[in-house]
């Protein structure tokens, strides 16, 4: 069978079957953060909590270092990663700024500018 050809959209990865397979453990851990009890357990020992959900080294490293692009590369889904961000009180502008390598103020200014176009 010929390899699947995927549509290339710059700066964007579609969360498809390949990503869903790759990121399952990471996303499952993040799904558990719907519970306050689990969020507290994670905060006590993030590494141990990652192990409990069977994250691989790449996923664990991305979670501990809170690097969103690395979490995405490891199969993380944006909505589930956002639940992890919530534990650290990161909002979507914090997350957007980190991923695009700008300050939060610069990221917000870019959004406002999009409204003036």
């Amino acid at each position: 069978m010929a390899p699947k050809t995927k549509r290339v959209i710059p700066g964007t990865t579609l969360f498809d079957g390949d990503m869903a397979r790759k990121g399952y453990a990471l996303n499952k851990m993040c799904f558990s953060f719907n519970s306050e009890e689990n969020r507290q357990e994670f905060l006590k020992d993030p590494g141990a909590y990652c192990d409990k959900f069977g994250l691989n080294e790449q996923q664990k490293k991305a979670v501990i270092s809170l690097q969103v692009l690395d979490m995405l590369a490891a199969g993380g889904n944006a909505y589930f990663i956002a639940k992890l961000g919530g534990i650290y009180k990161l909002d979507m502008q914090d997350v957007g700024a980190q991923q695009t390598g700008v300050t939060k103020e610069e990221f917000q200014a870019k959004l406002v500018a999009a409204g003036r176009e």
């Binding site: 979507m92 997350v95 959004l111």
Partner: protein, 278 residues
């Protein structure tokens, strides 16, 4: 038979929950968004719906990736909200309408839309916030039916499929033996992208054209594949599929009652489009 009075498409950014809880509607940041709603409240007061059918997408509250139905529908007496993990206040449960749920299930499966039926269903911000925005003082008599579409894990249903699904919902509601007045909501969008190095992407030109075409020629959207729509509107902009299903559920002709469009709310272009059936 039941009557479809119209439909309302509205954005569902979680951040709005904090603004409502904190009474920030008239703050400079929020005012251009919340000021879009009073004309729609006035229209709702006029058309007096008894039931709201809400087309939305779940973000990991009711459905995890272990089971991801393309189309699902609630068939419960009541729908509860719960902790979503990102710090927005949980709101009181909403009343269901099991008669309409089962009529929809029977009709839609007969029409070959093979839905997942849910006799228990948690509803997330994408369901609750639009209802809070449209009925700021809770209308306790309002009954609801949640219809959830997968816009999270590709492959997603196509624009063509969603429009056809909406049109099947239209036929189903119109054949419901009830004197109820029904409003259909579609929630999410418009253009936004949360993840990747393109995070913060917004496409005002496309959004405005989309809102316009949704009223006059919804089939226009079906020229685009979902990959096209992601490229044009962002990975989460694809939630416009919920708007399209809602539009399909309104049948042939509609007129716009009120529109509002404001950038940004959080990372999102916030749209509001109320339509009346004609």
């Amino acid at each position: 038979m039941a009557k479809i009075v119209g439909g309302i498409n509205v954005t569902h950014v979680p951040y709005i929950g904090r603004a409502i809880a904190g009474n920030l509607q008239q703050d400079a940041y929020w005012k251009p968004f919340f000021d879009g709603f009073p004309p729609v409240h006035a229209w709702l007061d006029k058309v007096k719906p008894d039931v709201a059918v809400v087309v939305y997408n779940d973000h990991g509250l009711n459905f995890f990736l272990d089971k991801m139905p393309t189309f699902s529908i609630g068939a419960a007496a009541e729908y509860s909200n719960a902790d979503e993990g990102w710090g927005i206040p949980t709101v009181a449960p909403f009343k269901g309408d099991q008669d309409l749920s089962w009529h929809l299930i029977d009709s839609l499966i007969e029409a070959e839309f093979d839905l997942t039926t849910c006799q228990e269903m948690l509803v997330d911000h994408a369901f609750t916030l639009p209802l809070e925005l449209l009925w700021p003082t809770r209308n306790a008599a309002l009954r609801t039916v949640p219809i959830c579409q997968n816009t999270v894990q590709f492959p997603l249903p196509s624009a063509k499929r969603c429009l056809a699904f909406g049109r099947a919902i239209n036929k189903a509601i119109e054949s419901w033996d009830s004197d109820a007045r029904v409003v259909v909501l579609g929630t999410g969008g418009l253009s936004h992208q949360l993840e990747g190095t393109r995070a913060g992407f917004i496409n005002k030109k496309f959004d405005l054209e989309f809102m316009d075409k949704l009223v006059s020629d919804p089939d226009w959207v079906t020229q685009y594949s979902n990959e096209d729509l992601v490229e044009l509107t962002g990975t989460q902009g694809i939630e416009l599929l919920n708007w399209l299903t809602c539009r399909g559920a309104l049948g042939g002709k509609v007129k716009a009652v009120h529109t509002n469009y404001h950038i940004p709310i959080s990372n999102t272009a916030a749209g509001l489009l109320a339509m009346e059936t004609v």
